[in-house]
Symmetry: C2
Subunit: 168 residues, 2 copies
């Protein structure tokens, strides 16, 4: 009896460690499905504008850990860093253009989606340490769409998979 | 000696009160020449993109009073509200375009200037209650340039002279 106990305890403890530390087995495990709270109050990283098929205007914000890492030029980002991209249609501002007397002013139109990258080097090991999230009208993106995140971001490995640079 | 003192003190006190409460007699008095501290940590109001002769990319940030007023839809803005526009060149991102395989990505280039609107309905009464600031390389704009702020902003009186709308 006394001999059997230690291995059982040992197995339980070991499996707890494994569960806690297990890296994502595949990229589906890195799809983040909850909106990080308070993101609209985060500080500015930069702005972005995508044409092509997107016609998209973005504000890119970071939580405190992300902002700190950016300002220190720290790569890779530390666990807990979260980057948010708030996307809108890139549209002309009729009301501004009227004042300026020419078509020159573009502003955010309808919000289209909000995307997040959540850093956890262990939990999201299979996808470069980042969990990816995409929300449209509050709903997470479907699996086919989410599978496009990592392969694209993985092309900027030298920047820890992050496209956006810090705007001074 | 003792008789001369009170009038002198009285004049000094009176002129201090006048200096404190006097509304701007003209718009030159509404040129703000100090950069409000901490503005890079303020929260996001919106983003902007101006073409025409500007080719300008902006992040528009607000201090707490400005953000609160925006979120409550409060017009006019309360005294103490400050709005910051951080301007950059609107440029193509070669490094992003290389990944995307087409010219679609625009990012902030060289910072060009930082502009502020500072609300004080009494101090800046001559210019709709707003003090205006423009800094290029840390130096305030010259008088000729600064004189263009108020007449243009005054065309959006219904929005308390503020062009930028809040991005959700």
């Amino acid at each position: 009896m006394k001999q059997a106990a230690p291995p059982l305890v040992g197995v339980a403890a070991l499996s707890a460690i494994v569960a806690f530390a297990a890296p994502a087995a595949n990229q589906e495990d890195a799809f983040v499905t909850n909106i990080p709270p308070g993101y609209r109050d985060w500080r500015l990283i930069s702005v972005a504008h995508e044409e092509g098929n997107l016609h998209s205007f973005a504000a890119v914000l970071g939580n405190d850990l992300a902002i700190q890492a950016y300002r220190e030029g720290r790569i890779p980002f530390p666990d807990g860093a979260i980057i948010a991209a708030l996307h809108y249609r890139h549209v002309q501002s009729e009301e501004n253009n009227k004042v300026f007397g020419q078509d020159q002013s573009f502003v955010p139109g309808t919000p289209t989606n909000i995307q997040f990258m959540v850093k956890d080097a262990t939990k999201y090991a299979a996808t470069g340490g980042w969990g990816f999230a995409h929300f449209q009208d509050g709903k997470p993106g479907d699996e086919a769409f989410m599978k496009t995140c990592f392969p694209c971001h993985n092309q900027v490995k030298a920047r820890d998979l992050v496209f956006t640079r810090y705007a001074p």
